[in-house]
Amino acid sequence: MTISRDDEMSDYTTEAGTELERRERAGDPIGDPGLPESPPRLTDLDERAARRAERQVAGMFGLAAVLTVAFLVAYVVFPIAADEGGVDVGAVRDSNLALGLTLGGALLLIGIGAIHWARKLMTSHQVVHERHELRSNDETRAAALADFEVGAEESGFGRRKLIRNSLIGAMLLLPLPAVILLRDLGPAPGGVKKNTVWDTGVRVVKDRSFTPIRPSDMQVGSLVVAMPETYQDLPDHGPARPNERGKASVFLIRMQPGEFRVEEGRENWHVDGIVCYSKICTHVGCPITLYERDTHHMLCPCHQSTFDLANSGEAIFGPANRPLPQLPLAVDDEGYLIAQSDFVDPVGPSFWEMNT
């Protein structure tokens, strides 16, 4: 057998180790005085103290039994049945408290009783066990290696390279079915993240009531949470509605003309100072809700990204980098707010394909 580099290293360190140990121990100032006798406890010396401890332990176990029965009683005497007007939350709270206090008390008393028993009454002498070096001795090590070598020799694994290599090749391919089977977990994302149900001429409607909005409905400084009118056409079941809520949600605010800067190319995106922005934060996608009317700052409650709505939704503080996407607004024949098109910029958190 050849000695590998690792063997050399471990031999070296073992030697160095014992050498180091000798050097350290030689100068020790005080020898080990040996394990001190643990002093006797009061319960060892005084039979009355021992009997008192016994009563305490038994008392705790007894009380635990009583509390367990109390739990069963509480289960029955604290009903939480709902009537026409629904369940009484106070009754649920009472039931929770009664069940928890009785069960928790019973468990706690069993635990404390057992520990008290061990500390006061069980014999308390420490025991000393020898440790043995965990590595097997050199003979055993060598014998094991030799046996392994015999087995390896008999299998011919090293010699018959064709078998070895074909086996390795077959095993390496085997995980691929497991990986490919996961392919249908979800569709390829495609461009779906870039598009929302907003489209040319889609009415901007108030969220929840789905009523269309006239510019005159909006006061300066007011904020309205809105959705596309076509959202209601989406199937009520399945993921379409929640998915669309996660990217098509918008809010409208109205500012005084001259109070906000209009970016080049967005001159006709507002209607009389009414602007529309995505409600989904460009950091990691929380809905943005905190509007500061005086500064026109919009703050995300999750990570405090702050956007300046008077300046094209620029990110001015916090971890978000991209501005809030703006939805171009117009007014239809009947005088209601509509979208000129879908969002021009991708909505929500940045993703790899967003600019392709």
Binding site: A82, V127, V128, P239, P287, T289, F317, S350, W352
Partner: protein
């Protein structure tokens, strides 16, 4: 033999006849388990895990892991006729229509919070006392993996009720996935079965939460315990305790009663907390809606540091050929866990390489005797706590009544500056404590008695330490920096691997260069003979008084 033994003996013999168990019993029934409060931390983790398993099974009997949309018509009137997922509706059912259901939900959640907390503190105990050293490196790695799995399962469980708060948490995770270059969008699409939130996530998280992750934790716990058993527990140094023995109370009956009792204590405390402290009243938040968020809600404590990192990370994002590299999300949510976990897992080997110490260690280090390791640990805690506090920067801003921007800016600087400062402070404190130990061994403990010498000198009398105490203070191994050795050997051949040895030597000096050496036998004798009026031969450790300049 007593009746008890006769009774139990029949069963034991029946088993022994078939699988030779008495051989094992003979060696283990009186196995020594060392006693110290800090050894209970791992037990808390184990017991709270059992409590989570028990309460979790109860919850699965009612919970429906489905995102199918329904109109609620259950017992909780304020949410009737509100559209929600079956997952949320069945969580409401558990809370309001099943007696004890709310209690079990709260036990499950409090149990999880305590589980992760106990694992974290247990890990710190292992780190600061050096219990990760050879031969326990495997258990260290298993422990770190269990902590990661525990946090993962905590997060998946947090998401399952599909309430407003849990959905927001998932949204943030999705944002983190999207930031991963090239594959991020695919990853999100595969996990959510298309767009976020889709209608697959809950049922997929459910199987992870109740089967895969707990199964892995259970397997790792088993190996963890087998290794503790086989390698025997570490113990603190002191009289009668050495690297070659283990001193403690016998498994049967003392440890059985104490550990068994402690399981019930942990269980009981979790139940009492669940009875009295409300946690996440999901019925007040309502079902998840991706367009709604409630301000001021917080994730479970163990996710807080990641959320804090997301909050204070500067808004760095750039583009390569139009493709975004969102460092503002990538660094805190993907890189940071890696930056923390990699050195954490590797630490036993890093220290082993630096110190060149490949011996078995079964006696724990007092943290002061490893100033650099302790300093590194405290620096890490500082870093972690600052991120954790940043996760509540809006609360901190409210408490101190300052703009949240100030807190964010302060934290951005603090996470860089404070950990090195705390390392230095900790190291100095450790060295100070080492000096004090040395003084106590050499000159005894301060007695508070002022004596006047015949020469008229006032000095405080020092009472000698008990032998056991003095031994305890000097039982640790003397630390010598790794010696680089000569550049060439006697034949002028350059030493191999000189560059890595040089790095190692410098690091070793960094670790041990300025530790205060424990006194030697000679120093101790010198100090005792040097005292005023002390130093009668043969009574050398009897009394040592007076100020002793070193």
């Amino acid at each position: 033999m007593s009746a008890v033994v006769n009774g139990a003996g029949k069963l034991v013999s029946w088993v022994d006849d078939r699988v030779t168990t008495n051989n094992w019993l003979k060696r283990n029934i009186r196995k020594a388990f060392p006693d110290h409060w800090s050894f209970l931390l791992g037990e808390i983790a184990l017991y709270s895990f059992i409590v989570i398993l028990l309460s979790g099974v109860f919850l699965t009997l009612w919970f429906k892991p489905s995102m199918a949309h329904i109109m609620y018509d259950g017992a909780y009137a304020p949410l009737r006729d509100v559209g929600m997922s079956e997952a949320f509706a069945s969580t409401l059912e558990l809370s309001f229509e099943v007696r004890g259901g709310l209690l079990m939900r709260q036990i499950h959640h409090w149990g999880a919070i305590i589980f992760v907390a106990a694992m974290s503190v247990h890990m710190l105990r292992i780190f600061f006392t050096g219990a990760f050293r050879k031969p326990r490196e495997i258990n260290w790695v298993i422990g770190v993996l269990m902590l990661v799995l525990g946090i993962t399962n905590g997060f998946t469980g947090y998401s399952l009720p599909d309430d407003l708060v849990s959905g927001t948490g998932m949204r943030i995770i999705e944002g983190g996935m999207l930031a991963i270059p090239i594959v991020g969008t695919y990853l999100s699409s595969f996990i959510f079965g298309g767009e976020f939130p889709g209608d697959d996530a809950i049922s997929r998280l459910y199987v992870l939460h109740i089967l895969l992750v707990p199964g892995l934790i259970l397997a790792l716990v088993t190996i963890h315990l087998i290794l503790i058993w086989y390698q025997k527990h570490t113990h603190w140094g002191g009289a009668g305790k050495s690297n070659q023995n283990v001193v403690g109370y016998p498994l049967f009956p003392i440890y059985t009663a104490k550990a068994g009792g402690f399981f019930f204590v942990v269980f009981g405390v979790i139940v009492l907390m669940s009875a009295t402290i409300q946690i996440l009243p999901i019925w007040l938040f309502g079902p998840y809606d991706p367009s709604v968020v409630s301000a001021g809600t917080q994730p479970d404590w163990y996710v807080g540091f990641l959320d804090g990192a997301l909050r204070i990370m500067p808004s760095w994002e750039f583009y390569i050929a139009g493709f975004p590299i969102s460092l503002n999300v990538l660094v805190p949510s993907v890189l940071l866990p890696g930056i923390i976990l990699t050195p954490l897992i590797l630490y036993p080997w890093i220290e082993q390489w630096v110190t060149g110490d490949k011996r078995e260690h079964h006696v724990l280090d007092r943290p002061r005797n490893q100033p650099v390791r302790t300093g590194v640990g405290v620096a890490f805690i500082t870093f972690y706590m600052l991120l954790w506090i940043s996760g509540g920067n809006d609360f901190v801003a409210t408490i101190f009544d300052v703009p949240v921007m100030w807190i964010t800016r302060f934290m951005q600087a603090a996470v860089i500056l404070l950990p090195p400062l705390m390392f230095w402070v900790t190291k100095r404190i450790c060295l100070g404590l080492q000096r004090r130990d040395r003084d106590r061994v050499l000159h005894g403990a301060e007695s508070g008695v002022i004596v006047v010498s015949p020469e008229g000198e006032f000095a405080e009398a020092h009472a000698p330490l008990a032998d056991a105490t003095a031994y305890q203070l000097t039982a640790h191994q003397r630390q010598v920096p790794f010696d680089l050795g000569p550049e060439t050997d006697e034949y002028g051949i350059p030493a191999p691997r000189r560059r890595s040895a040089g790095v190692r030597s410098r690091l070793s000096k960094f670790y041990f260069g300025d530790v205060i050496p424990k006194p030697t036998r000679d120093e101790l004798e010198m100090a005792q003979h040097d005292g005023h009026g002390a130093g009668e031969p043969g009574k050398e450790r009897e009394i040592a008084t007076g100020p002793h300049a070193e």
